[in-house]
């Protein structure tokens, strides 16, 4: 048995077939034949799949100019670049003042300026989340299948929200920088518009999952559509919406940190500058600040989200 398993598959298959014929039982022979046919088919399908993937791979490598030679030549430059970005910290001078080379203070010598920019970025993200979510809260009610006034309104709002979220923030920002001028205003509006589309869908889905009994209660007591949305649906979905809001804030703080690349405000503008001018150590300092901000916002928002979900559980 062991020696048969070591042979190449085709030889092993022939041996198996011979074994089956040797028993001269028609059921065994038929079974073995069916098994091998199924196996062959699977193997052929796998080979075809592999060929298709390989073809796609070669085509995409050719289109994206990722020739092995270029990659090989670029590899040392990549490592060199990332090593140059790293700060030159010296253990002996680690906690010395900003004038001593090799200290943390020297590495972060423009910390006050950057901290202000980080705060600005966080505020941009918060404001964009708030404005975007306000829009999506208004649009979520007509975009929820269970309470939409008519099929037409439902479809129109849904398509509108889809269009809003399909266009990336950066594209919005590029256009808004033309319309509103360079600065944080364009970035906030760009992120807000994208968030409105993304959150609108989530809010609408939360509304679709809401219990309809309060709705029936309000409408049968003579409440209007708006009253029913406000008093029957909103209290149910509010914790959910709060949780999505915080999740969106986490996403938006990442977007806000790069939206400055196109001149739309925040720390991204500074990062773009230091990368373009090759101020190597400052690059790593700013990126480290961004990572710290993102991670701490994530942790904080996770705590708050769990609190919001806890309230949701308590309300049920």
């Amino acid at each position: 048995m062991k020696s048969a398993a070591r042979k190449p598959p085709r030889v092993a298959a022939v041996l198996k077939m011979q074994e089956a014929y040797a028993t001269s039982l028609p059921a065994v022979i038929r079974g073995e034949e069916a098994f091998q046919a199924a196996r062959r088919q699977r193997r052929n399908a796998a080979l075809l799949g592999a060929a298709v993937v390989l073809a796609c791979l070669l085509l995409s490598a050719w289109v994206s100019e990722a020739h092995p030679a270029t990659l090989w030549a670029g590899l040392p430059r990549i490592f060199e670049y990332f090593i140059r970005i790293l700060p030159d910290l010296r253990w002996s001078a680690l906690f010395a003042g900003a004038e001593t080379e090799g200290s943390i203070a020297f590495w972060f010598y423009r910390l006050p300026e950057w901290a202000l920019l980080i705060v600005e970025t966080a505020n941009m993200a918060a404001l964009a989340t708030l404005l975007g979510s306000a829009v999506s809260l208004l649009l979520a009610f007509p975009a929820a299948r269970n309470i939409a006034p008519s099929g037409l309104v439902y479809n129109l709002t849904r398509r509108f929200l889809e269009a809003l979220r399909t266009i990336p923030e950066i594209v919005y920002a590029l256009i808004f920088v033309w319309a509103f001028g360079v600065g944080a205003l364009a970035g906030i509006l760009a992120i807000a518009l994208h968030s409105a589309g993304a959150n609108g869908k989530l809010f609408a889905e939360a509304i679709e999952n809401a219990d309809m009994k309060p709705w029936d209660g309000v409408t049968s007591a003579g409440g209007s559509w708006f009253a029913a949305c406000r008093f029957a649906i909103l209290p149910q979905v509010l914790p959910n919406i709060l949780s999505y809001l915080l999740l969106r804030f986490e996403v938006n703080i990442r977007s806000a940190s790069v939206i400055g690349f196109v001149g739309a405000g925040g720390i991204g503008e500074e990062l773009y500058k230091v990368i373009s001018f090759n101020y190597y150590e400052e690059i790593s300092a700013i990126i480290l600040l961004i990572i710290l901000t993102v991670v701490s916002v994530d942790l904080l928002s996770e705590k708050l989200r769990h609190a919001a979900i806890g309230r949701l559980e308590a309300a049920r």
């Binding site: 995409s60 289109v63 994206s64 270029t70 060199e80 670049y81 319309a179 509103f180």
Partner: protein
């Protein structure tokens, strides 16, 4: 119900009568703080009505100029950019999905039992994830020059961070009995992983890789804004020279491409998971 019984009930269950003065005060304070922050940031970011009005009217002009969308004279370039974006997404995701397999095993609790090694490895992945793809793209543009290769590398590196984590979680959720069975039959640990764990997690990994291909098609379409090739470069250039009809054409093209890739990938995913 008389006045006195209401007072006794109020004393017994204060919460049933709505928030007390302390709670109300707290709510009021919260609202006031929020308003101060809100108005303060609006003022700081210069949300003046005139500026908003001017911007909106400018935006209206741009929207009017966008209609009808037109491919312009350099439509070959646009198509090439689109192909580049999809190719960047495919190559970057494919390479990341391959490299993330061993890294995912290294980050899984049930494979690497050394807590310190696993912990530090996972923190490195967290760090990679903390940096936005666009930042990676900008850095790679400086390292290997303008062009789609920088985009491929940016997608590759940022995806390694996420995919490795997702793979590690999938591996941790895998049933361990199969691996125990393989090792009990006398094989080594490596064969136990190969025949006991990998068959369980391979469909999950593939589905996640395909999902990332979808999402990377979206992000690859903007990496060109920082010079990393693809359709983003085309759109940024046309916005710079204010050819708004061509911008609208590219945006529509981007939406169609993303929808097409989503559709194809969803079909493949459903087939692979069903098998």
């Amino acid at each position: 119900m008389s006045e006195s019984s209401i007072t006794t009930w109020r004393a017994r269950m204060p919460d049933a009568f709505g928030p007390g003065p302390f709670r109300l005060g707290l709510r009021f304070l919260g609202l006031a703080l929020f308003l101060v922050w809100f108005i303060g940031t609006l003022w700081y970011f210069d949300f003046s009505p005139t500026r908003l009005w001017n911007g909106l009217s400018g935006l209206g002009k741009i929207l009017v100029l966008m209609i009808p969308p037109s491919p312009g004279e350099l439509w070959v370039e646009i198509m090439k950019g689109l192909a580049e974006s999809v190719a960047m997404a495919f190559l970057g995701t494919f390479l990341a999905a391959i490299v993330a397999i061993p890294l995912g095993f290294m980050g899984a609790r049930n494979v690497v039992t050394l807590t310190l090694l696993r912990f530090s490895f996972r923190r490195v992945l967290d760090g990679i994830r903390g940096v936005d793809q666009l930042i990676w793209a900008l850095a790679f543009v400086r390292a290997v020059g303008l062009g789609p290769l920088a985009g491929v590398l940016a997608i590759f590196v940022s995806d390694i961070g996420i995919l490795s984590k997702l793979y590690a979680e999938a591996i941790e959720n895998a049933e361990k009995r199969q691996a125990e069975g393989v090792t009990a039959a006398g094989s080594g640990r490596l064969l136990g992983i190969r025949f006991g764990i990998l068959p369980q997690v391979a469909p999950v990994m593939l589905a996640q890789a395909l999902y990332f291909f979808e999402s990377n098609t979206r992000s690859a379409s903007i990496l060109g804004v920082v010079g990393a090739g693809g359709i983003g470069l085309q759109i940024a250039e046309r916005i710079r020279v204010r050819h708004w009809d061509e911008v609208a054409f590219i945006i529509i093209l981007m939406i169609i491409t993303v929808a097409a890739i989503d559709w194809i990938s969803a079909r493949i995913r459903r087939r692979l998971i069903a098998v």
